[in-house]
Symmetry: C2
Subunit: 438 residues, 2 copies
């Protein structure tokens, strides 16, 4: 039995704004058994067979990346600064057409390596070859919330749905419970209502939820309005899609009425500020949603539209973008953004009973940040430090399900060199580009 | 004589968009003597008495932080998410009132430690006790463009001007040419036209330039308009302030006419997107200014309104903020932002004859980024990687004036522990807060 003691850290359990204290954390078999302000009882200290020195470190729940397409790391910086449709039609889609299951495995491993090193312990992924994504989650030790992207138009609609069901049957609660599987209807504009209803029926039969893109661009809203006489959000509401667990990515273009619906129906909203900025999709009304107690997580989206998977940077963007957009420096205060990146994301993924805060009885997903650095000195408000000054590279230690996956900033048990080499080789093949010399 | 050879890097000299190649750089006595695509001639290799291995590294000009208040690191994360005037009146100004020269020295040293580690080799600073800032520049090896902040209202107006002149006489071209001194009239709303005219006369007499805040907030524009019947920019233009070298920080609120004036008069514009976002000042029209070939650099502003001094992050913000604000993903492409952070900043500071690009005859200010990391893999477009995916912590080596100041990500010759301890002690005293336990 693994008994892990995390000693002497500054603990930020994300249970309430005022909760921050120096203390110990005791973990048994991947579960947090106790949190001790000051120090753990001497008998527990004696029983631990692994100890993490957390002095000079900030200890908090692992970050939850609430929306990404992990394997798109293969297309990081492949095509930037282009109009959206040229980017998709001339760069991304042709490159994706050549993807194999192995490519997706290695692209996902690259994403996992990057995310773990930057403190992400759970990610919600929507892509294809998702059995290979599940294998990457199993192999790496991270936690994954996986959905097969479903496009209801075209010849693969049935096949994709069958794959998502097979993924559920093979992987849901797999990898010691680190994998959960939802269904992934891509978006209202790629999944007509009839198809969505079949996806919903399957979700209900399996007892699972839906991960979907929603109201990302103005064009989407206008097209759906033209086609169905209502907005994407009202269209989904009209077919009762929100009556089950839903993770809705982006939610940029929402009327006040639509915001109220998402808040009331407890739809999990994955806010992706950097992607929305880089692709010029718009500014999501997250401050307004937050004031309505909506369920909000934070996502990076895929690396091609970000171009990294650093959720700490994403927190900063979420706060700064709302402040400048609303012309008010008091909106989206630091702690509220940190909630989105942890417990908010856990709720949005339907996983908050197990992760998102540091509390006895929850799974031991936690990260330690190294505070002894010039850009985090002096120490006034550590929450403001984390959201406004820290970087993914400040993460020193990462524990997922009680296992130490990053120690002193280095991956434990993953071959980073090989992952980067595999990704490089495949990226070159897929995009047909010439490699720059080192 | 120091002869430094930088071998086998991917060199991005920032001379033109297409210029990127593998090669060597040869430096003698702090000056770039030659850049060699492929490899340097064998006789030069033999003459070098220090070699930097740049394989797997991106070599580019050191970054220029075009506007900051370095010693404000002491107030990093001290008071956030407040309305602007409460932040200034209740937090920042009372804390600043207690500052001593020693505090400014150590706060500046903390900023320098942070900036060097993140690839900043030159910074433009406006604050007080500037002789101590100059001493920090001299002691640390960084390059500094220093101005005593001048407030023309109140009892210290004359004293401050005398201090700025003394600073010029003692330090201009000091520290082996690494210090330049300009005059620092704080802003149109703190320096009435009569005072500005006296500052201008002194600048002309000394043969130096002016560093000023301009059009940062809407309130400033409205107040000046009310008081003088014209906007801050037109007010400064009406007294011919722009007829000499000027570094104007922020420039957020500008009419098309004002933009054209700044572009035509070659005013150096220091764009500070993160500060403008965090304080909700607004979105500067930098894409428009860029299209008018204005001289634009990139700044972090002080750490209290940022909250770090990471210019790589600032590049990303500059690009993303314009894209989402203008609703166009093609504006502010990666290379244009990188220009602002290097050669644009050098021009804005009036220092482009010596720094800002890698060219034979210029001073050897350069940085190496470590490319062998998951978040920078695979390698498609390295400029996009740098602007959209990299972090300050990716900086591996920093050379200023031919001296290696950072090696393998660690400061050479600065006592980081002591700097952080001094800053911590002083921050606690100045803000009267209770220290959090580690």
């Amino acid at each position: 039995m693994t008994r892990l003691l995390v000693r002497g850290g500054t603990i930020l359990p994300m249970t309430a704004r005022q909760d921050i204290f120096t203390g110990d954390l005791y973990i048994e078999n991947g579960e947090i058994r106790g949190i001790y302000p000051g120090a753990a009882p001497a008998e527990l200290v004696g029983e631990a067979n692994e100890t993490v020195d957390a002095r000079n470190k900030l200890v908090l729940p692992g970050l939850v990346n609430a929306h990404t397409h992990a394997a798109m790391t293969l297309f990081r910086s492949y095509a930037d600064d282009l109009p959206l449709m040229r980017w998709l039609e001339e760069a991304i889609w042709p490159a994706e057409a050549g993807l194999t299951g192995d490519d997706v495995y290695w692209g996902t491993m690259l994403a996992i390596a990057e995310m773990l090193k930057a403190g992400v312990t759970t990610f919600a992924d929507m892509y294809f070859f998702m059995d290979r994504v599940a294998a990457a989650v199993a192999d790496s030790g991270i936690r994954g919330h996986l959905s097969r992207g479903l496009v209801g138009l075209g010849p693969n609609a049935e096949q994709a749905l069958a794959e998502n069901e097979a993924l559920f049957r093979e992987w849901h609660n797999g990898a010691d419970g680190r994998v959960r599987v939802w269904l992934g209807p891509h978006a209202p504009y790629t999944c007509p209502p009839d198809y969505l209803k079949r996806v919903m029926a399957l979700a209900d039969r399996l007892g699972t939820g839906l991960h979907i893109h929603l109201a990302e661009t103005r064009t989407e809203v206008e097209d759906i309005q033209k086609q169905y006489g209502k907005s994407p959000t009202l269209l989904l509401d009209s077919i009762d899609l929100f009556e089950r667990p839903v993770l809705a990515a982006h939610c940029v273009h929402l009327s006040p009425e639509e915001q109220a619906i998402l808040a009331r129906k407890r739809v999990g909203i994955a806010h992706n500020p950097e992607s929305n900025m880089k692709l010029a999709s718009g500014v999501a009304p997250v401050e307004s949603l937050r004031r309505q107690q909506a369920v909000i997580g934070l996502g990076t989206d895929g690396a091609a539209s970000n171009n990294n998977l650093d959720l700490i940077e994403e927190m900063r963007q979420a706060a700064f973008l709302q402040k400048v957009h609303l012309g008010d420096p008091t909106v989206m205060p630091a702690y509220s953004v940190l909630e989105m990146a942890t417990v908010g994301g856990a709720r949005a993924l339907g996983w908050a009973e197990a992760i998102g805060t540091l509390e006895a009885g929850k799974r031991a997903d936690l990260i330690l940040l190294n505070l002894a650095q010039p850009h985090l000195a002096p120490r006034h408000d550590l929450v403001a430090h984390l959201v406004y000054a820290a970087r993914g590279s400040d993460v020193d230690t990462v524990v997922v399900d009680g296992r130490v996956l990053v120690r002193s900033g280095k991956l434990v048990g993953l071959d980073e060199e090989r992952i980067m080499a595999e990704a490089q080789k495949r990226a070159i093949r897929l995009t047909n580009t010439v490699e720059l010399a080192d």
